[in-house]
Amino acid sequence: MNRLRSTGLALLGPALAVLVALVISALVIALIGENPLRALQVMTDLGDAPSQQVQSVVVILNRAVPLFLAGLAVSIAFRMGLFNIGVEGQYRLATIVAAAVGAAVALPGPLHLLLVIVVGMAVGALWAGIVGVLKVTRGVSEVISSIMLNFIALGLASYLLTGPFRGSPEGASIITTTPLPESAWFPGLNGLLGAFGLAEPRTELFGFLLVAVVVGIAIAVLIQRTRFGFDLRATGISASAATASGVDARRMVVTTMLLSGAVAGLIGLPDLLGDARAFGTEFTAGLGFLGIAVALLGRNNVLGIALAALLFAFLDRAALPLQFADIPASVVTIIQGTIVLAVVIANEIARRLALRSAERAGAEATGAPPDPGGSADPGGPGPGTGPDGGHRVRTGVPGSSEEARA
């Protein structure tokens, strides 16, 4: 019953936020003298011919895959109360190194792909790991260090691109790495679409979609069904309570950042392996920052992030038909911006509602004042027991790392 109620509250936030954002956007569209309903109709119009409709869906999916991975990377850290703003730098650095390594070696197909993916994840993890190590050894706020590392990563990626990894001829207007050999091209899924009797789209559907689905399921299982995931969530809800019950918070910070960075390292790969074949000055930037919005909208839940990524990808594609209908495409940016704002506010309201209902429930049950550490999570650890139910004794970490998180 209680769980049902909290699930309802969890869904209420984002749904309310999207609704509020739509109303605000409709007002803005009306203010600039356009018909909001017509705008909505244009945005949802995927095209007349079947091939156009399939094409539109492929464009949305291809955009959603990197957004989903970006949201996932941010959410892993979020779940533990860490704000990894450095996803942007992590994926850019990971993509260029992966592109350079992939172009430099010759391997049979699957192995070659695996190597590129592993290199990307490793570089992303290492770059994010710096943030974790700085936090546990020096108490540096991960917000500050990850932002700063973004600048360093962009500069480093630029140096590598114009220096050692440069593959494009001198004087070319776009600088790129050496293109990947064919063995490192991720096969597309258009054959699969054809098997379902769908029309052939112009653009190849990223085969990396499957990788993203697998990674999403793996992360969901890891966070919801394993000891590590439990420690992670417990630390995110209350660091001091988790420490008291025997979670090694320092190790958790580093591991979580490594994991978040490893997923971040995947963000650029759908495009790299499926379309661009090389990292260059025109390689899609900014996905790491969009990932923060996607994770917020998806409430750090894997399924929610997938839906949020699809919504953002849908809005992104809508910018095209809007322009053809002579409605400013900025409408899309306004909707995205207001959704994120509304989600932050709605999440806070939902959190307070949940907290209040938990307090009331607690007060009814014991007749005592509610525990200040009590939270909305009905699955939270009971007092005095460790996550596995046993009693453990271990001294906590120095306070600095926890205070930096608050």
Binding site: A172, I174, T281, E282, G286, V340, R405
Partner: protein, 347 residues
């Protein structure tokens, strides 16, 4: 703390949404007075879109002029913030039957190769990018000899500098902007071999924030003026207004880029510091291309170079600050046209 950061971030996203707002497109309805023209021009902008008071607007002005002459209409397309939907936008223009389709900016180099192949019946042009080696029959590259115009800017700066010290602020350190730097430095040194030329870029290759960051443009230019430079040339798009600000603050002068910025800047205080502008006549090139198309004389598969000789690049004279050195500038111009001076394209 983290919550505050999240709110800040959300706020900045919303602000960014406001900042990139653009005017509704009205060109299609008002363009062709006759209404009988069947010219259907597709115009795909670089990131930033219409209203940048520079590159994109210049291209639009060219299309507008062509339509005023020939009739017809234009459909515009601006890519999203990260430019990831360029291919889709260009393809949609071609698919919807617009012909010719013009991509504005070197970023369309890769895109045009992909899309022109898919739509062999459509005539494409791309500004600032070469198509000669792509082997496409239906695409034309509209190129500019930026280094030649920048050379003249360097000549003007060196002639006008009282401290024998000038500066260059580039938006992004990439080959296209390095052409401006190379020409400017060569021009300044042609006049005065001992002149000191400070060179700074706002952002490194791959990070395009340098074209839209007036604050950092101002800091870089300010440090050059403080170090003794008295004229700074910018090739930094929207960041250029920061360079003008720094010039106004320190009582020095600056050189604008792309369009005649003396005319486009709306603040008289900034107008006073704009000594001249290095003109890049994207509008002329676009208009000429559309005219050629309507006359059926587009060759295809070649690059058209707009240089000093064809007045594709040059120096603006608005404000009259370089009137007294026109003879020297004209002299260098003739020597470049005749081939006596070869301007380098890389620093």
């Amino acid at each position: 703390m983290t919550k505050a950061a999240a709110l800040l971030l959300a706020g900045s996203l919303a602000l960014a949404a406001c900042a990139s707002d653009e005017e509704p497109t009205a060109g299609g309805d008002s363009g062709g007075g006759s209404g009988s023209g069947d010219l259907q021009v597709g115009l795909a902008y670089d990131v930033g879109g219409r209203g940048d008071q520079s590159f994109n607007d210049s291209a639009y002005a060219g299309v507008e002029a062509a339509i005023a002459e020939l009739g017809g209409e234009v459909q515009e397309f601006s890519p999203n913030d990260d430019g990831s939907d360029r291919v889709e936008g260009l393809a949609n223009l071609a698919e919807a039957g617009y012909d010719p389709v013009i991509g504005v900016g070197f970023a369309y180099a890769e895109t045009i190769a992909e899309v022109a192949e898919e739509f062999p019946e459509t005539t494409f042009a791309v500004v600032d990018s070469s198509v000669a080696e792509l082997g496409l029959e239906n695409a034309t590259g509209l190129l500019f000899a930026e280094e030649q115009g920048s050379f003249l800017a360097g000549v003007a700066a060196a002639l006008k500098s009282e401290t024998d010290h000038v500066g260059f602020v580039g938006g992004v350190e990439m080959p296209l902007i390095q052409k401006f730097e190379a020409g400017f430095t060569a021009g300044a040194q042609a006049v005065n071999p001992d002149i000191q030329v400070d060179v700074e870029y706002i952002s490194p290759a791959g990070d395009f924030s340098g074209f839209g960051d007036p604050a950092r443009g101002q800091i870089l230019a300010r440090s050059m003026y403080d170090a003794g430079a008295d004229i700074v040339f910018h090739a930094a798009g929207g960041s250029g207004s920061g360079v003008f600000q720094a010039a106004a603050e320190t009582g020095n002068r600056a050189i604008g880029v792309d369009s005649d910025q003396y005319q486009t800047v709306d603040d008289p205080a900034l107008q006073a510091v704009i000594m001249t502008s290095m003109l890049k006549r994207v509008d002329n090139a676009v208009e000429a291309f559309i005219t050629d198309y309507s006359e059926g004389t587009v060759e295809g598969g070649v690059d058209l170079l707009y240089d000093l000789e064809s007045d594709g690049v040059g120096l603006a004279t608005s404000g009259g600050q370089i009137d007294d050195i026109q003879t020297q500038i004209e002299d260098y111009r003739q020597r470049i046209i005749s081939g006596e001076i070869t301007v380098p394209t890389t620093p």
